[in-house]
């Protein structure tokens, strides 16, 4: 929209040293790398810690259930909790989230019940929650497509003068897709209140970043579109939270979109059907495990006396409770109504759809009769 063309200060290349607020050792980073972002308050940090611990327990539980064959597939985000939780925790309730298949634990921060998250991974239905109720789009599987939806929703919010921003997750592999380019460009030209959270977890299934992009770093890409880019330490939840929160605030205030590259690592396999030993070094994985986002914040919270034994007990209890609920929910027999397949294809009724539904209904009735007769 031409009203929104801004030709003020165009952004310069981001700093290649990632924004870090709490370093690997759990100390508050003292140097200039914090980029002037607000260090989160004690309550915010404790809440982020709680969310990460609970999300990790959930992630591990679901991976286990998947290995047991009780889920069809599950892409784990183990090791990426700081990006997933830090970015989504910065959203307000009225903001919209546009997640991918990888971002299941981010859904927890939107108040979506795990019971409603499973249907797609268990094979019951494609999306199990009401996107409007949680202001969270269905998890997108085609790469980069959701980034455009985030820009569209953000632009609609802006046209309606709503104080709302959107957050889209992207992977490093997805950054090569044409639709990523289109999303960045639309967002910048329309000055859409959107934040792109690009999780650079180093691999797209088996393909390392070096074979994906020849850029100095993915955050640099922002500059070509005329939007600011930041590289953050993606295992530092304080940094992710602070940078995304500031970007969302700027977006809501009419300052346009931001690209945030979170430098992190996928500890688990791509999905349960992947064999990472074929393409990556165990030594690398071991190194990244020493940079664990949860341990890092825990060290900080313990050393500053912000985390007491009571807190740890209650967090552990919440995590176990969610894990148990998750196990029960996944193990519970579900009854699916095959006829519902026809119910949500069109808003307007279609004669042909009714005929096909009737056909299946008759077939089901016949097989019920047959099994009834055999019983």
């Amino acid at each position: 929209m031409s009203v929104d063309f801004r030709r003020g200060d165009l952004p310069t290349l981001p700093d290649s040293a990632p924004v870090t607020l709490i370093d690997d050792e759990g100390h508050r980073a003292a140097d200039a790398r914090d980029g002037g972002f607000d260090f989160p308050g004690a309550d915010e940090l404790k809440s982020l810690y709680r969310k990460m611990v609970v999300a990790r327990r959930f992630d591990v539980q679901v991976t286990t259930l998947t290995r047991q064959g009780r889920m069809a597939t599950y892409p784990s985000a183990l090791g990426q909790e700081a990006c997933e939780i830090g970015a989504t925790a910065a959203l307000r309730a009225a903001d919209w989230l546009f997640p991918t298949y990888r971002d299941t634990i981010a859904l927890l921060t939107r108040g979506i019940d795990p019971v409603d998250i499973f249907p797609s991974f268990r094979g019951d239905w494609h999306c199990g929650y009401d996107p409007s109720a949680h202001r969270t789009a269905p998890q997108a599987t085609p790469l980069a497509t959701q980034a455009l939806h985030a820009v569209g929703a953000a632009t609609a919010a802006k046209l309606k003068h709503d104080d709302v921003a959107t957050l889209a997750f992207l992977g490093d592999g997805a950054s090569s897709e044409g639709e990523t380019h289109e999303a960045f460009n639309f967002a910048a030209v329309w000055q859409a209140p959107t934040v792109f959270m690009l999780q650079n977890n180093q691999f797209a299934i088996s393909v390392p970043l070096a074979k994906q992009s020849h850029a100095r770093m993915l955050a640099d890409k922002a500059v070509g579109y005329g939007m600011p880019g930041y590289r953050v330490d993606g295992n530092d939840v304080a940094a992710v939270y602070a940078v995304v929160k500031s970007a969302l605030g700027r977006a809501r205030a009419g300052g346009g979109p931001t690209l945030v590259e979170g430098l992190t690592y996928r500890i688990e396999a791509h999905t349960n059907s992947d064999d990472p030993s074929r393409y990556r070094d165990d030594a690398d994985v071991a190194t990244w495990k020493t940079r664990d986002p949860i341990e890092r914040l825990e060290k900080y919270l313990l050393s500053t006396g912000l985390l007491g034994e009571d807190d740890r007990r209650s967090i552990a209890a919440e995590a176990e409770d969610l894990a148990a609920r998750t196990r029960d929910a996944v193990s519970a027999e579900t009854t699916l109504d095959p006829l519902e397949m026809f119910d949500h294809v069109y808003a307007a009724e279609r004669p042909e759809m009714r005929r096909q539904r009737d056909f299946l209904a008759a077939e089901l009735a016949r097989s019920d009769e047959a099994t009834g007769a055999n019983a």
Binding site: P131, S132, H149, T155, A156, N185, A348
Partner: protein, 339 residues
């Protein structure tokens, strides 16, 4: 062909010669006026008014927050429309030409068409994708494709194509009001011919076919630009004593079986006419379903009179590719009329 048109909504408004381009423009204007959630965007649709001038004057009238030029990126146009629809808008977007809609294929097929189903009905996609399509206007390469088979093969989409200015107005209004995504195919060669018309006008419901010419001997099933060709064939056939019924399908998906069945059972012979290639084309669906539903009423196999199975030819060759009235009548001649 204006016999089917209801009386104009405002009595006393005189009918004037109106083109499909003008009717579409009026439909957009009226929709924008009535519903603040309607927005119109795409390539060059702003001050220029679109390369076919369908959005002429709208940007000036409604402002850049309702009608605007988007960046030049089709996936981006449809993808952002999906996000807008999720946020309660009713976007009407334009693909500049048929063959330039292909970059948006993934957004249409994987998301626009499926969002309602994925979310068990929680999220509607009231999006209209307008696509000027088909040939006959001397367009260069990539400006004359008939892509209906790609779209109609996709569950979740409604695919319609008007052949007259009155239908263009009425169907576009209905498409914009629909809670389902609509691929709105505009036959380029029909943009400029005029019809005596007083707008606004409402014709038959968008998802129905219409008998545009009654006849007893054979049913021609046509849509978009080929309705005109079929009517020419009917005229020509009439001179030879052949009584041809012509149906304008109007809606390609859903397919109006009732109207077609009724006609075919009366005439016992049917041929479908389209510009697109024959192989796995839309006519294959029409022939198959007409046969499945009416086999014992048919005196002859359902015929397809279509473009050849070639990429759309260069402008100077398109007349050899497109179905003509003669070609339709020649095809009908292949039947054993004594059977």
């Amino acid at each position: 062909m204006s016999a089917h048109i209801d009386a104009p909504a405002e009595p006393g408004v005189a009918a004037t010669p109106t083109s499909m381009q003008a009717a579409l423009n009026a439909a957009l204007r009226d929709a924008l006026t009535e519903d603040p959630s309607v927005v119109v965007y795409g390539e060059d649709v702003g001050p220029l008014g679109g390369v076919f001038r369908v959005t002429d004057g709208l940007a000036g009238e409604f402002g850049q927050e309702r009608v605007w030029d988007s960046p030049l990126a089709e996936a981006g146009i449809v993808g952002t429309a999906i996000g807008m629809a999720m946020y309660g808008m009713r976007p009407v977007v334009e693909m500049q030409f048929d063959a330039f809609s292909y970059p948006a294929f993934q957004q249409v097929v994987s998301h626009l068409a499926k969002m309602r189903n994925r979310t068990k009905g929680a999220v509607s996609m009231p999006v209209v994708v307008r696509i000027p399509y088909a040939g006959g206007v001397g367009g260069v390469e990539h400006h004359s494709d008939s892509s209906e088979a790609y779209w109609t093969h996709t569950p979740g989409l409604t695919v319609v194509t008007p052949s007259t200015p009155s239908d263009a107005y009425s169907m576009l209004r209905e498409a914009i009001a629909s809670d389902d995504p609509v691929i709105f195919l505009e036959p380029k060669s029909r943009y400029w011919p005029k019809e005596e018309l007083a707008l606004p006008v409402r014709t038959e419901p968008m998802c129905t076919a219409r008998v545009v010419r009654e006849g007893a001997d054979v049913t021609l099933l046509a849509y978009g630009a080929t309705v005109k060709t079929a009517l020419e064939a009917a005229e020509l056939g009439g001179q030879e004593g052949l009584d041809v019924e012509v149906i304008d399908l109007r809606s390609l998906s859903p397919f109006d079986d009732e109207t077609v069945d009724k006609s075919v059972r009366k005439t016992s012979r049917a041929a479908v006419v389209h510009e697109a290639s024959k192989f796995v084309g839309y006519g294959a669906e029409v022939a198959a379903r007409v046969t499945e539903r009416n086999f014992y009423y048919l005196a002859a196999p359902v015929l397809r009179v279509t473009g050849f199975d070639i990429p759309y030819p260069s402008p100077k060759l398109e007349e050899f590719h497109l179905p003509t009235a003669e070609r339709i009548l020649d095809a009908l001649d292949t039947w054993d009329w004594e059977a």
